[in-house]
Symmetry: C2
Subunit: 385 residues, 2 copies
């Protein structure tokens, strides 16, 4: 067994954003050395890691040379040079999640085909190598409107996804490979955080529910536990576990799911890393997703995924119409509400819709947490002055 | 209201040890800038703060010049130059806890007299300016053996405290001012973490209990909540609150108490900062003591002091007979037990009895947490190889 604690053993993290920053709380707690690579010299991870390297996550040489210096390599963002990870693995470097797993997830076409060939329930889809091929298929009436268009590569945080309702909607789509997916009229959008270590131990967290704004169609609250029947929750956890095992994933995997009107559970997509939908676990769970990720990639025993209390998570995103030095209006105000903890990611500059932080609201009674969350949502504004 | 979050507002922390390190998790969570002063260039706070200054905490100029650069000054250790704090306050700098409060606590003789004049229950004592005066009092039979000797200045972590049972025990005592205190045959040793902000809002955490090893007479477990009657717990919290208010303390105050055989509550001593007896709150409480300290010194609304679950804390101290590069034997082993979180402070070198970390064990059922804690205690060893 390696000696990870207060030793020279070093974890490399590709990406220095808020997920990396929250992972660093845990490496600090265990006094495990870290190196972080990020292109942004003002990355939230700049402090708290033992060494920070400024550089591109997509550049082969940069990632390869960074990886050579560490004992275990992980990432907090999928958009990294996977060829470099493969080369490092060939030389015996430990990379978790593995390059092979990441390859199956990075490209959404490959990801969807993987579900199909592994018997994992997912919405029907077709894959098109070019926009031209998609357009031809529509002309041939192989797709009826509406459908969901997803770029195969590079999409995240809602980018690279569009609902296509008619011919007009096709026009702005970029010339990239894509999938066209059946639009699922779901009852609930759910997510399950799964953790798996190299030994193959696997655990799931309680199901979380995304509650949408009734008009804006945007996720407003991530609620743990989801307010659904136990049979549905069990089914969702079983599917999520199967996804992690099929990918032979190591670390935290966030599995986003649809609960259809027939109570089917379909996999929407996955993120092979700690995820927004698992932030509730920092205050809510026996073991938070970042500590759990560390335990997994170091092949330690996984921690309990039980909840201590109910939790609701609200994202703090930049208000429309404000760009510049950030100001968190009414933050002192929401901190005076029961069970409220803001997490500020450490980005100096706000921009419309930029993820600037999140707020967790906990309570023994999930309905009370939900009520407080509404007040939080109404009060706090991420603006600039 | 100041803008603390993602701004240039800076907190200065005197002391860069494990308490400072755990405080930095919270400043990072809120993205509040920090400067840390510590004489040790390998201090656990060296990373995670925005600026680290190596220098003496007892040197007037060093502390004064450090304080000039920050917006609010606090400390994680009492042994700091209080004259420098006074000078900074005179110039309008915010220092919490205040120099005046620290003055009343730093010297144990002054502290005891403060309890007496404020009607706070405490063991009877006499104060002696020199060892000679103490010895003379004993010759005159003004003290019967046994009694507790405490150095007025500089004692912490059990240093500067001795039980004096006969004339022999007097010989090794240093030539310093001291108090001689009635020895209390207590039923329980308890502690209450109190938090108070400048507005005067004050909250107490549930009472914790120190469970001693039956033979070694050393604290083995800090248990929250204490396994005592509610009336006693309420009395302890009331006394602790009064102590904080009497000192006009701002921030976290740890109040150590004796529960006598007659169920009296006596104040033993206090620490005007986050404290070992409050570490349970990181996993166990709605608001941990470090976040609570920040909220207090920034004059924000205090967080809830309720517990999410029961918790037991075990200290990790260097084993006797080992000095050198630390090795945490069986740490992977204890991490496989339910609800166990080790905290490794980040000191490379172990020494006998050096505080190297702590372990928190949580469970809905405090008795189960206590059982797991025993296994933790038996397994983990802080050694060098």
């Amino acid at each position: 067994m390696n000696n990870y604690f207060s030793s020279d053993f070093t974890i490399g993290i590709l990406g220095g954003g808020q997920l990396g920053k929250m992972l660093l709380y845990e490496t600090r707690k265990y006094d495990i050395r870290t190196h972080v690579l990020d292109p942004n010299p003002q990355a939230p991870c700049k402090i708290s890691c033992n060494k920070f390297t400024e550089g591109s996550l997509m550049d082969y040489d940069t990632v390869y040379n960074f990886g050579k210096q560490v004992d275990v390599l992980t990432f907090e963002i999928e958009a990294v040079n996977v060829e470099a990870l493969e080369a490092l693995e060939k030389e015996g470097k430990t990379v978790y999640p593995s390059a092979q797993t990441l390859r199956k997830i990075q490209n959404k076409g490959v990801q969807k085909e993987f579900y199909e060939s592994n018997g994992i329930p997912t919405a029907q889809f077709k894959r098109y190598e070019t926009k031209q091929l998609l357009t031809e298929a529509i002309v041939r009436k192989e797709h009826s409107f509406p459908f969901v268009w997803k770029s195969c590569e590079g999409g995240y945080d809602g980018k690279g996804v569009s609902v296509i309702r008619d011919d007009e909607d096709l026009i702005p789509l970029p010339e990239v490979s894509c999938i066209a997916e059946e639009m699922i009229p779901f009852k609930n959008e759910l997510a399950v955080i799964v953790v798996r270590n190299p030994k193959g131990d696997v655990k799931t967290y309680p199901v979380v529910e995304m509650e949408f704004h009734p008009e804006a169609n945007q996720v407003e609250y991530v609620i743990c536990p989801a307010r659904i029947e136990k049979t549905i929750a069990d089914k969702a956890r079983t599917v999520a576990k199967k996804v992690s095992e099929s990918f032979e994933h190591v670390g935290i995997l966030a599995v986003e799911l649809f609960q259809t009107h027939n109570d089917e559970i379909l996999v929407n997509e996955v993120a092979p890393r700690p995820h927004n939908s698992g932030h509730f676990s920092i205050e809510g769970s026996f073991t938070n997703q970042f500590e759990q990720h560390l335990r997994a990639i170091l092949n330690l025993t996984l921690g309990s995924t039980k909840s201590k209390v109910g939790s609701v998570m609200v994202n703090l995103v930049g208000e429309e119409g404000y760009t510049g030095q950030v100001y968190y209006e009414n933050i002192e105000n929401i901190m005076s509400l029961n069970g409220v903890t803001p997490h500020i990611y450490g980005k100096r500059e706000t921009r419309p819709f930029r993820k600037m932080g999140h707020v967790t609201i906990i309570d023994e009674d999930i309905n009370e947490a939900r009520r407080v969350a509404e007040k939080v949502k109404q009060k706090i504004k991420v603006i600039s002055k």
